[in-house]
Amino acid sequence: MSGADPGPRRRFEPPVGDSGEPFWAATRDQRFVLPWCRRCGRAHWYPRERCPHCGGMDIDWREAEGRGLVHAVSVMPKPALPMMAEMVPYTVALVELADGPRMMTNIVADDPWAVAVGDPVVLIWEPLSDGRHLPVFRLEG
């Protein structure tokens, strides 16, 4: 993907906050990492400097599975932002990752209306204009 022009921006490209830098850095190599707490051993999402499960402050960024189940899904018949107009209809979903946490994402599907709660999904990467990638999912198989 490096060097390829992703074309005009089709979505809002996320700024990097205080805790997200290791995640976004790994996406440059299309590596999917999650923050794990060294004290309780659990992963969390969204990234925090303090583990929301136990309060531990020692966070370990490790490669994660990149698969999960659709926990909830909604089809957007209109874009949330004008720049997404060509994407409609598209899904917004919460995915329960195999590694535990739940994250908001999109399920890229030929028929977005057919995506259902419980469907198994796998990670795919959508390039952003600055070399980072956005984690979205497709139906497994």
Binding site: R11, F12, E13, P14, P15, V16, G17, D18, G20, W45, Y46, H71, A72, V73, S74, V75, M76, P77, K78, P79, A80, L81, M84, M87, Y90, V92, A93, L94, R102, M103, M104, T105, N106, W113, A116, V117, G118, L134, V136
Partner: protein
Amino acid sequence: MGSDPRTEVRRRSRGAAAIVGAADLVSPTGELDGSTRRLEAQAIQAALDDAGLTMADVDGIFACTGGTFMPSIELAEYLGVQPSWTDATQTGGSSFEVLCEHAAAAIALGHCDVAVIVYAATPKSSFKKGGPGFGGGAQRAAALAGPVSPMVEWELPFGMRAPMGAYALAASRHMAMFGTTPEQLARIAVSTREWATMNPRARLRDPITIADVLASPYEASPLHKLDCCLVTDGAGAVVLTSAERAADCAKGGVFVLGTGTSHTHSMISAMPDLTVTAGAVSGPRAFDMAGITAADVDVLETYDSFTITVLLALEDLGFCAKGEGGPYVADGRLGPGGARPANTNGGGLAYTHPGMYGMFLLVEAVRQLRGECGPRQVPGAEIAVAHGCGGVLSSTSTVVLGTEATR
């Protein structure tokens, strides 16, 4: 809950404070003239007149919108009030139930004697003039203005329409877990509209059918346009004082019997369980303090930003079991003549919704308990519940109100 020793402490202030004045400004056109500050002042004056009190009596100021970043201070300056209690707690649409809880507690503990809670917003006329209105546009503009928030970093890139997309995700999960149907959600909108047909001040007064709801376009599946609240201008105010002083007010008091508040998350992606709101905590806390059960409630005013909001509240407050909200509402029991009258003014779905509807829950609950509601009056109403819900199913606050006979 009953075993919580603090419940006994809270019960000491059961009925210690009362709402003595209530007013709202709405228009069937959905639009109001004047600045929000002017509308706030008008609503406060109307509520004080309703109570037979004056601005000189006010020593508690409760405002979480208006002005810039110190809402209660800026409002007090505008009104010429120097209060002994100030409160600007912002929890979204539930804010006014939270402020009512705080006002009742402050009065019970002697921190202030006459509290004013106010709200005004004009998203409909502001949008027409080129402003952001309320909802997605306004929230996104605010989110992008500050430092990088988790919402901007971890939700905004995926293009969820706000706020309806968040509620749609909860509805999606509830349907998958419990078999709740679009028809059942639509029934809530139909029952609420039945009440609105009886309210000449409501924005939408034509009756609708389940088929109408299902035929309206999706805003975010599975929620249709008619599953979603209005966007209107509106303003409202309530005045609280002590039970003793309420006896001398123009219309007596509607007593604050119990209150409870909680919140579970800020972003929908962080909601612990998409099918359980903070109402499962705030409701039982309020009911325990009041010494009532769901069966004792005569009138329910519960936040209807979306039909799913009502369904989840019915379950979380214990009107039916978790997962059974769909069948519970399907017989039309929320409507006029039904067994569980709810949102008797037409609600946020049909009466008014300037963005934070919780104020209007309180105003309608007071009017029902005073017997002021004309054709939509629930006969013999003695106990009413105002249940606010703010953010994206994030915060809830439950206020149990009762007539003199229930004190």
